[in-house]
């Protein structure tokens, strides 16, 4: 025995945060990422119309954040306790700050979705009562978009800060985790939204928006890989606790999830589909959807890996 006195048992019976939390982190990342990318493009290109990509992003963003909240509530020991998080606050708590951000974010996303989907709403009879509201609020659309862009990025980062505060787990308790989650949220969110834009809102595969997205995709993915590499290196060269956590990358089933899911599907998948296949296939619709699905599943694997492998290798 090296230390003076230690114990290894715990009272909690295993993993405190199981898969619904990983799914929540996933959905929140997609929601924030999709909307951020769409609004970036809107501001950058000074667009005033409702583009197909904006419509798709707003819809994806609203649906995913709602599903994410559902996961969060269902993971509470008793979902009926949910109101307590909304009523009591502790400003020292990352989660509490996140709840405040989300209570502003979710209604604003709904509003942005209403603005973006105005024409579709006109066509659906049961949604028509929303039209007068849209008309009334049209004046504040711009400030809302700016606020939502900031909030969307904060929500992405918040999912990282939420878990990086857990000091017992070296894989999770790292400084670059929030940055990694922002990067992977942007890339998977953009992928999800562009699939919907093409599939549902009939965006042309080679439109201007798609070209910008295509150009932005690779640098973001590169940043993501870089952040992951930083985490791996810091664990590999770190102290005893970090070295134990480094095992997560080379032993056990979570290592498989990492190498096959995150690296294989998430990174290599899109890269191979775009650069290793003939020009005809890589510009086809199949390649487009397949590479989008790869990016999204890679992100899901990343969240699962970080949460489970992280909690398995505690110090």
């Amino acid at each position: 025995m090296d230390g003076t006195l230690e114990f290894t048992m715990g009272l909690s019976d295993g993993i405190a945060w199981p898969w619904p939390i990983a799914v929540y982190l996933f959905f929140a990342g997609i929601s924030g990422g999709a909307l951020s990318v769409a609004l970036f493009i809107r501001f950058y290109k000074k667009q005033v119309t409702n583009t197909a990509f904006l419509k798709a992003s707003a819809l994806v963003s609203f649906i995913t954040i709602s599903l994410g909240m559902l996961c969060l509530v269902l993971d509470l020991t008793n979902p009926l306790f949910f109101w307590r998080i909304l009523v009591y606050y502790n400003l020292n708590s990352v989660m509490s700050i996140g709840v405040i951000a989300l209570t502003a974010y979710i209604p604003l996303v709904a509003l942005i979705a209403m603005f973006a989907l105005e024409e579709e709403i006109k066509r659906i009879a049961i949604l028509r009562p929303l039209l007068p509201i849209i008309d009334k609020l049209r004046g504040i659309r711009r400030p809302c978009e700016v606020a939502v862009l900031l909030l969307a990025l904060s929500v992405c980062a918040y999912t990282g800060f939420l878990i990086s505060a857990l000091i017992r787990f070296p894989l999770i308790n790292t400084a670059v985790l929030p940055a990694l989650f922002v990067a992977s949220g942007l890339s998977a969110g953009a992928a999800a939204a562009k699939m919907l834009a093409v599939g549902m809102f009939k965006e042309d595969l080679h439109s201007q928006d798609m070209k910008i997205l295509h150009g932005a995709e690779w640098p973001i993915m590169f940043a993501e890989a870089l952040f992951l590499f930083m985490i791996i290196m810091s664990l590999m060269t770190g102290n005893a606790g970090a070295q134990t956590a480094f095992e997560a990358f080379h032993s056990g089933s979570w290592a498989m999830v990492f190498w096959l899911g995150v690296v294989g599907v998430g990174f290599m998948g899109p890269v191979l589909l775009n650069f290793a296949t003939g020009k005809r296939f890589s510009h086809s619709a199949q390649a487009f959807y397949l590479s989008g699905l790869c990016a999204v599943s890679g992100m899901m694997c990343l969240r699962m890996f970080i949460l489970y492998a992280g909690q398995n290798f505690a110090i």
């Binding site: 009272l11 909690s12 306790f81 998080i85 000091i167 017992r168």
Partner: protein, 235 residues
């Protein structure tokens, strides 16, 4: 050289002068800034005396009305065989290792991550006693505190669906002026409880003469539980 000593003496006086402001002069500066006139409740686990009988667990279960078989502490056996099982220290089924137990429970951190992360303030520090305890009516069951506790010392009470930790029996025993149930229940005096800010308390006098350690102090949580480990002669 002598100038150096002079300077050091001067700095010492300066330091001591600032300490007079605090009502009680005690040796550690860190303790000073956190109200030394308030109590700081602490517990000592003496490994030399513990025989692993488990009476503490039963006492805890009864005193705090916990679900069947659950208590807010565990005993981890670290060496010495149980019949039919391998010794966790040497790995043999039969060995001469001395039996060693360690108390696993909330360490009552002075800098408690569970209190920091709790979004509702359900996990909080009792203002009067400074003990980390629970307000079950506020807990949302999010389990953030459980993931954040570096000692894995929290759990969900299956009866109430809220998080729980050892709070030195704050509401069940201390409120009645009694000692914590596990301390009362231990027949071998392996558990000592008291106020370490009171220089005359038994626990203060014990800690003044015995070497004790804190667990995983590198987390920087400043735990209030202290352990007197079994030390072999000559090590």
């Amino acid at each position: 050289m002598s100038e150096n000593i002079e300077r050091r003496r001067f700095l010492k006086c300066l330091g001591a002068g600032s300490l007079i402001l605090a009502p009680l002069g005690c040796s550690s500066v860190k303790e000073e800034d956190s109200n030394s006139n308030r109590p700081h409740y602490a517990m000592v686990f003496d490994q030399n005396k513990c025989v692993g009988c488990g009476e503490c667990k039963e006492a805890c279960n009864k005193a705090n009305n916990l679900p069947e078989g659950k208590s807010r502490l565990m005993m981890e056996q670290q060496s010495g065989g149980v019949e039919g099982q391998k010794c966790s220290h040497c790995g043999k089924t039969e060995c001469d290792c001395e039996r060693k137990y360690v108390r696993v429970s909330c360490q009552q951190c002075k800098n408690a991550p569970c209190v920091t992360v709790c979004p509702t303030g359900a996990a909080h520090r009792d203002p009067a006693t400074g003990i980390v305890t629970m307000n079950a009516d506020k807990c949302a069951g999010c389990k953030y505190c459980i993931a954040a506790c570096p000692y894995d010392a929290r759990y969900i009470n299956k009866d109430t669906d809220v998080a729980d930790n050892c709070d030195f029996c704050l509401n069940s025993k201390l409120a009645k002026g009694e000692l914590p149930a596990c301390v009362q229940g231990c027949r071998y005096d392996a558990l000592i409880f008291g106020d370490v800010n009171d220089p005359n308390s038994y626990i203060s006098r014990l800690l003044a003469v015995k070497d004790s350690v804190r667990i995983k102090s590198h987390f920087g949580t400043e735990p209030s539980l202290r352990y007197i480990p079994i030390v072999k002669q000559g090590v």
